[in-house]
Structures are given as C-alpha cells and as structure tokens.
C-alpha cells in the first residue's frame, strides 16, 4: 500500500467522523476540520483497526493533522513489512 492509498483511506475515515463534511484538504489540521482532541483519539482508534497498527502514546502530540497521520501510518506499515 503506497502513501496515496493510505491517504485515501485516512480521508475516508475522517469523512466518517461526526461533524466533518465536504472537502478534506490533506494539509488540514484536525482542529481546522472541527475534530477536537478527544475525537482525534476516536479517529486514531479507527485508523489503528483499519491498518493493524498501534500509535504509541508518545506520538500523540506529533499527530495533529491528516498529513502527520498518513506519514505515521506509512512508516508503521513500512516497519511491519521489514
């Protein structure tokens, strides 16, 4: 799965969040999309389930937008495939 495919799946999951509608620019932060810190945790749980990965607590402050999340998933998947 390449980064573009990961991004498409993440955007799909973001669009499934309550209150998120319309355009979801890849550069947007969760806050800009109206997803607050706790809803971000709900989104992460869905991402973890979807990709079979685990986001460690220490990574949480670094994942503040879609691009951060896509990059994290891509590197986690790369780790798994090694």
């Amino acid at each position: 799965m390449d980064t573009e495919q990961i991004r498409a799946v993440v955007v799909e999951l973001v669009l499934g969040m309550d209150g998120v509608a319309g355009q979801v620019p890849a550069t947007a932060s969760f806050e800009e999309l109206g997803i607050d810190s706790m809803s971000t945790m709900d989104l992460l749980r869905k991402v973890e389930d979807e990709f079979g990965i685990e986001v460690p607590d220490e990574q949480l402050p670094m994942i503040v937008g879609i691009e951060d999340l896509v990059n994290f998933v891509a590197s986690a998947k790369q780790e798994v495939s090694r």
Binding site: S37, L44, P61
Partner: protein, 330 residues
C-alpha cells in the same frame, strides 16, 4: 449460590461549588469549552480544612441509614487522598460512625477504588469473615490539584459515596454477579502525583510543592486508554454475567468525562439513555464517583428494583474494572 448483596447506598458532597463561570475568571477558557469537552458544569470542593474523612463519615452514615443497619463487620475506604499518609483513614471513620473496634482499612486504586472494593468485599463475605460490610469511596482530590493546571482544576471535584453489602445469594436483588478487574503498570505515569511516597522523600530542596500536586498532562492518552479499557472490561463482565448489551437497564460508568462515557456506551451498543450521567453536577470525584452516581440515581428514582446494572471504571495505575449486579429494593 452465595453472593455479596448490595443493600444500601448513600452519598455526600461538600456545599461549596465551583462553576465553569468561576473557572473562566481563573483560566483562559470558556464555559462552552469546558462543558463541550468534559460535560462538567460545576464541581463541589472542600473548604475550611474539611478532608476526606469528613466526607466519608457523611456518606457512610447515609448508606447505613439506607440499609437500615447500625453495625457492620468491616469498613473499607477506597481513597487516594487519605487524611494522612499514615495511618489509614478508615479506622477514624469507623470510630466517628460509632461502629466501634470493627476491622477497617483503606484501599488505594484511585478511580477504580470502589469497583475494586466491591470485589474485595465480596471475597470477605464469601469467605465467611463477616455478614455485613460498609464500603466507602471518598476523595478530596481538589486538595491535590496543581492550582495552575486548567486541565486538572476543570475536571475534578470532591465527594464521597458508600454502599452496605451483606452476605446473601445470587438470586437476591442487589447481588453482585460478575467481576472483571485489571491493571497495567506500564501506564503508571499517565495519572501520577510524583511525591508524597517513598520514592521521593521530603528532602529539603529536592522535592517541590508542585511535585506533591496533580497535573493533567496526558489528557488525550487518558481518553484513549479509558475508552478502550472500560469498553473491554464492561464487555467481559457482560459475558460472565450472561447478559446482552440491550438487556442492561443502566450503565453506570466512572464519571471522568462525559465524552468517555458516551464513547464507551456507543462501542458497547448500550443506548445513550441507559448511560447514567451526573458528571455535569459533580465533576470527577475519583473513588467517590461510582457510589455517588448510584446514590444520585437511587434518589432520582431511575434505578429500580430488579434492574440489571453494569459498573465500569478506569483510573490511575492504570487500573480498571467492572461489576454486573441486579438492583435491590431501597
């Protein structure tokens, strides 16, 4: 089959109230920000030197009255804010309640203290060590909060809740039917007060006042672990009780954050109107949270005899646990 049976509940909160409006004068925040993220509109706090035992005595007396009894064989006080690091607070509470030289000890499992206490009490009664127990969850956590930390001051309140349990049978209304308990010490620093224990003794110049206080530094991670653990634990206890989620009349979770309770209810498939909420009035009262919710729900008449009730919690440690019980005639 023998079982511990709940036969009385009581609660008490101090009279002094801190509203969200009060907090907007202390911190850069708004009432909307606090209530949308926590569900909390006000919290009660101790004043004038009142401490945990003062709360525990009031709640204990209310529970004894609810059960219609004036003696017990054991008092367990679940708390992480004892009056002193040593001795335990429970013996003093027993004396003030006029319960004589009854066995009494404190139990430290933070927000899971009351649920852990129910399991300990069920063991005591099941082993035939006594016929009746008073279990109190009480905390004056406001005395431990870093006053500069918005996250902590916003969330926590003080209070006490209590229950009387007796030796009975699983068929009795009020019987505790299934338990699930767990912990993960890897998450010890998630919710921690650094000093006050043996690891950081009070050596002048080495331990600051702030080290003795609680700050909410990892709110996101707390939300994440709490929803995950509470859901898994509640599902485990449902399996053990043989109940389907749609059979549960009331899901009474630890009142840490309304969003956590809603998320857990949703993940479990329990209808939102079956998730009991009183955090708006009390905030997170630590070990008092679940028994206070039970006392409130009883006073409001929402808990009725025969209801299937599931209690679930997550707290510092980390610790978590759940209990399935039927509700008695109170």
């Amino acid at each position: 089959m023998p079982a511990a049976v709940l036969c009385g509940v009581g609660g008490y909160v101090p009279t002094s109230v801190v509203t969200n409006t009060d907090l907007t004068m202390r911190f850069s925040t708004s009432e909307e920000w606090i209530s949308s993220r926590t569900g909390i509109r006000q919290r009660h706090v101790v004043t004038g030197g009142d401490c945990t035992s003062d709360l525990a005595v009031q709640a204990g007396a209310a529970a004894l009255k609810s059960a219609g009894v004036d003696s017990v064989d054991l008092i367990v006080l679940a708390t992480v804010t004892p009056d002193h690091p040593c001795p335990a607070t429970a013996p003093s509470v027993a004396r003030r309640l006029g319960l004589g030289q009854v066995a009494a000890f404190d139990l430290g499992a933070a927000c899971s203290g009351f649920v852990y206490g129910l399991a300990v009490v069920a063991g005591f009664l099941g082993a035939g060590l006594g016929d009746r127990v008073l279990l109190i969850g009480a905390d004056a956590f406001s005395t431990k909060l870093n006053p500069a930390d918005r996250g902590a001051v916003t969330v926590f309140g003080d209070g006490a809740g209590a229950a009387v349990l007796r030796r009975g049978n699983a068929a009795d209304l009020g019987a505790l039917l299934a338990f699930d308990l767990g912990s993960d010490g890897k998450l010890a620093d998630l919710l921690m007060i650094q000093a006050g224990g043996s690891k950081h003794p009070p050596v002048a110049g080495q331990v600051t006042t702030e080290d003795h206080l609680f700050s909410m530094t990892q709110g996101k991670a707390v939300y994440r672990h709490a929803t995950c653990r509470m859901t898994a634990s509640a599902q485990a206890v449902l399996r053990r009780a043989g109940w389907r989620p749609d059979e549960v009349d009331w899901f009474v979770g630890h009142q840490a954050n309304q969003r956590i309770l809603e998320a857990v209810g949703k993940q479990m498939g329990i209808a939102p109107e079956r998730v009991f909420i009183n955090i708006d009035q009390l905030g997170n009262t630590v070990a008092a949270s679940i028994p206070l919710a039970l006392a409130d729900a009883t006073a409001m008449g929402v808990l009725k005899a025969g209801h299937k009730v599931v209690l679930t919690t997550f707290g510092a440690g980390s610790t978590w646990g759940s209990v399935a019980l039927t509700w008695p005639e109170l």
